[in-house]
Assembly symmetry: C2
Homo-oligomer: 251 residues x 2
DNA sequence: TTCGATTTGTTCGTATGTATT
DNA sequence: TAATACATACGAACAAATCGA
């Protein structure tokens, strides 16, 4: 690999980071699809003209970032949105009794329109962008707990429509991944407490003078490019939001 | 290092993990104090009878878990509770305008007593344990935002008293670390929305029918041993709770 | 200021073990 | 069984940062 990017005077970028970049770019370009194996370490080493150790070092960080998954004897794979992964990294709601289950999903609304001042204010999304609006309810133990109002710019999602959403199997991010090649790898969330709007309260079986948890979420794909925006309302009568599930492996 | 722990039939524990264990035990035993350097990689390698590469592998995970900090040319150090670290890993409140500042702290109460049913229910802390109760207010921009009700078993904190708390410099975790050798390395938090109790509302300048963010926090030291329990109430009129500041380095 | 010793950071190479197909 | 792929471990060499003589 050409040791090109040395921004004059500064210390040169380590080889393993250049390799990491290269892999990330290939991932973003859809060169290897979710669920597929990427080339073996030996192959990558040959392609990049570096040692296997350097490849491992590059892949290590992508594995830590849950972008790739290694399996001894099989290969290294592009991470997919399985239920397990969702439950652990993208769904932070648990029962106050400690229960941790996968939610049922119910599509309540779908429409297409242009983004407005609210989107710009809440998420920094430029006004006038073509977006789809999705209202989705999540139930736990057959009771409504989370209401998601999703805004997704349609640019990266060709021919996104209601039936696609309604007939999907698995999670919404799995749909993005399988159908549109958009891979959500990280989310950022900002939480506050507030009284829910009347329509939301009605859906969640709350009164409007009861406190609810409100979340603004931005979902990112490779290279921290944002792909989806969400307002969530959560009835925390019997459930909680978990933060720092961490346990960074480090005993 | 003796390859002892091979639970019969299962794959043997990797060497680097045994080394990691050994380092963690030494840390927990206070062999190296926060801020101090641990022995050099070459030294550790000699002591443990393994190669430097294996030492690096062991230390890598501890660095990822923010238990150790490496500095090229200087050495590897036990992490300390600086303001920067606190702001990033243990204080998740930011202004809705995006501002991120270090809070002022004000001690509102201190007493010692025995733990009760509430502690057992909320945190699984055994009844009748000797604990200190600390009420601490955090202000942002000179306005009250977070009220912490802290419960800490006094077993690991010899001669903990109010004046120690009041006259401390820096954060509470820095106090634990500097004065009692107790190093908080990880926290787990559970969030919900609720109406604040009257006394809390008064302190935070809220009405009791306004929604507030409530957090149950458990702070852990090495080996996931819990050292402190906390109830926090947050006025989210102008502030939010940030989750997944992540950016796991993985571009 | 210079220099040398120390320490971590990067890269390479090799050998062997374990899991999968 | 054999081939493939990742996992572990060792060693060597040099680069870069730090610090004290």
């Amino acid at each position: 690999m050409a040791a090109s990017d040395t921004p004059s005077g500064l210390t040169p970028t380590p080889l393993y980071r250049e390799v990491q970049w290269r892999i990330t770019r290939a991932l973003a370009a859809g060169e290897w699809k979710p669920g597929e194996a990427i080339p073996s370490e030996a192959e990558l080493a040959a392609d990049c003209g570096v040692s296997i150790g350097t490849i491992r070092r590059a892949v290590d960080e992508l594995v830590a970032g849950r972008i790739l998954v290694r399996q001894q004897g099989r290969g290294t794979f592009v991470a997919t949105h399985t239920e397990d992964r969702t439950l652990f990294y993208f769904f932070h709601i648990a029962g106050k009794d400690g229960s941790r289950e996968f939610p049922e999903s119910e599509l309540l609304g779908f429409r297409k329109e242009r983004s407005n001042d609210g989107d710009e204010h809440d998420f920094g999304l430029a006004r006038g962008t073509r977006v789809a609006r999705v209202r989705n309810l999540l139930k736990l133990g057959s009771r409504p707990v989370v209401l998601d109002d999703i805004t997704v710019p349609t640019e990266r999602f060709a021919r996104l429509d209601e039936s696609t959403f309604r007939s999907r199997e698995g999670t919404i991010y799995a749909l993005y991944q399988a159908r549109y090649g958009v891979n959500v790898v990280r989310i950022g969330e900002r939480l506050s407490a507030a009284h829910p709007p009347a329509d939301v309260a009605a859906i969640l079986g709350m009164r409007t003078n009861q406190p609810a948890l409100h979340i603004r979420r931005i979902a990112y794909s490779y290279n921290d490019s944002p792909v989806e925006y969400r307002h969530s309302w959560i009835n925390t009568a019997d459930h909680e939001y978990l933060s720092d599930l961490w346990k960074t492996a480090a005993l």
